[in-house]
């Protein structure tokens, strides 16, 4: 490979700036004509990962569909902060029905479009982790199983944020939430519980399943674009840190998401028809403590005394992910440069 080797010490990441890329490869957000599907003025907290993720997902989908997109949203932060009546931040046709039925409502929209011969208009359903893995799970599984022509996007902030940070089936072990408090000898959410929804989605053998985070927005956009090039049931699971619920600084959202990946706690991969087809390798592995320490929902693991047993148990989860998905390439993973 020719070309100049570029170093990115200044941001401490391996992200490649847009200006160094071929225009065709640049991020959708770099496009002055982007849709701004979720436009400014919404009421999310500062640094909300869900707002960031949704904007990228929908703008990428708008680009991929030529603007022919209909969106169905489950109840949750994204719905509440985007539509304080009489205002709305959506510049796409958008419907909020209920908390637990978004995948079915989206499938219904897709059915009408098919009945009316408008196959060019595509449908996205979206919701939080609670709406996806818990209360909406039955409808989602039905939508998968029928292979309805819907991309469902789960914005996973690992708890019920809209109602004040309660545990969901996506809350990780040891995390403190309002319903998994840290008191007595109980230290937050239990180990050995929770749903791995991407894997459950894969078990439906649907055409496409992918995970992504707001740390790698280019990757997120590419996955949306790929998903929209396919038909049938598709599922995208996006990790979106929540400063309020996680107790992170609002300026750290992207950093925290990156550490989730680089610690091995959040595997980023793609699967088609039930088989993993690609993984994003960890380029510089970090100890899980580096990720956890930035979040007050894990403060009890560090003060008043460090809980090494719990940290080790979380480390074992990361280790398991790394092994299962082959997240660490066998080349030298410590090098700090990339070629564009």
């Amino acid at each position: 490979m020719n070309g100049q080797r570029t170093f990115f010490y200044q941001v401490g990441t391996f992200a490649v700036g847009n200006r160094l890329l071929d225009p065709a490869m640049r991020a959708g957000q770099a496009d002055p004509d982007r849709a701004n599907a979720l436009t400014s003025g919404h009421r999310a907290c500062q640094g909300c990962g869900e707002a960031l993720g949704a904007r990228y997902v929908l703008d990428a989908a708008m680009r991929a569909t030529g603007g022919k997109l209909v969106v169905v949203n489950a109840t949750g932060c994204l719905e509440v902060f985007s539509t304080p009546y009489p205002e709305t931040s959506w510049r796409v046709p958008w419907l909020h029905s209920l908390f637990g039925n978004a995948p079915a409502v989206a499938a219904g929209a897709a059915a009408t479009l098919r009945a009316q011969g408008r196959d060019d208009v595509r449908v996205i359903g979206q919701g939080g982790d609670g709406g996806t893995v818990d209360i909406g799970f039955g409808c989602l599984s039905g939508m998968f199983e029928r292979n309805d022509d819907v991309l469902f996007v789960c914005y996973d902030n690992e708890a019920y944020m809209n109602t004040g940070v309660q545990r969901s089936g996506a809350t990780p072990p040891a995390a403190r939430t309002a319903t998994t408090p840290v008191v007595g000898d109980r230290s937050g959410n239990r180990f050995g519980q929770g749903k791995d929804l991407p894997v459950i989605a894969m078990a439906h053998r649907i055409p496409y399943v992918a995970t992504a985070t707001v740390a790698d927005l280019r990757d997120l956009e590419a996955k949306v674009a790929h998903a929209m090039s396919l038909h049938g049931a598709r599922y995208l699971h996006v990790l979106v840190p929540c400063p309020l619920g996680w107790g992170t600084a609002s300026g750290d959202t992207v950093r925290v998401a990156r550490l989730a990946v680089e610690s091995g706690l959040f595997p980023v991969f793609e699967a088609e028809h039930g088989e993993v087809t690609a993984v994003r390798p960890i380029r510089r592995r970090v100890p899980v403590a580096d990720y956890l320490r930035l979040q007050t929902r894990y403060r009890h693991l560090f003060t008043p005394t460090r809980c090494d047993d719990v940290l080790d148990a979380i480390g074992a989860v990361a280790e398991d992910n790394i092994r299962r998905y082959g997240l660490i390439e066998h080349r030298d993973v410590e090098h700090r440069e990339v070629s564009p």
Binding site: R43, A44, C45, Q46, C77, V80, F81, N162, P243, L244
Partner: protein, 185 residues
């Protein structure tokens, strides 16, 4: 009946302030009712909380439209929210503001206290609520400072409580001095 309305932003402890005030009045043997403005606001959005204090049991549940005192936890709200709506003619205004109070367009009796600065110094975080409650005690005399401090102690873990108590105490002293100065003038 003494009616207090507290204006602030999500994350500034507005609801806690109303609650602590009601606890302070309760410990003095009076009846008190505190309640928030019940929104789905997120961090940084304008919020309101209410507190009624009376010698008789309080039955009414309506939001406070006629206020005897308004506490403004965030001066930037003055541009967006009519915080003075329904304030009684002789009502008091306490605002969290580090500069001279006449820089703000408030009624002549309004008193400012730099509650955020006090909080940063004592607590290390910009949560002005405890300091403002100290100021409230000095300004209105509706509750004793000691009751406010007890309410704070009952609410937070020891070290956090101590920091907030210090902020409230200092705000109390500052507002008291200010009130005395005005009386002399």
């Amino acid at each position: 009946m003494f009616a207090v309305r507290i204006h602030g932003r999500g994350g500034q402890g507005v609801v806690t302030a109303a609650e602590l005030l009601s606890v302070a009045a309760f410990t003095e043997g009076r009846h008190a009712q505190a309640f928030p403005s019940f929104g789905s606001e997120r961090t940084g959005a304008p919020v309101v909380a209410f507190c009624r204090i009376d010698t008789r049991p309080i039955r009414t549940r309506e939001p406070i439209a006629i206020a005897d005192c308004v506490i403004v936890q965030d001066p930037t709200l003055l541009r967006h929210v009519d915080v003075l709506a329904g304030l009684r003619p002789a009502g008091s205004v306490l605002v969290n503001w580090a500069g001279p109070v006449d820089q703000l367009e408030l009624p002549p009796g309004a008193v400012a206290v730099a509650a955020t600065q006090l909080a940063l110094r004592h607590v290390g975080r910009p949560v002005p609520n405890a300091a403002l409650l100290g100021g409230f005690a000095a300004l209105t005399g509706q509750v004793r400072l000691e009751s406010v401090l007890d309410a704070i102690r009952g609410r937070f873990p020891a070290s956090l409580a101590a920091a907030n108590v210090a902020a409230a105490q200092e705000a109390y002293d500052l507002v008291r001095a200010e009130c005395e100065e005005r009386q002399d003038a």
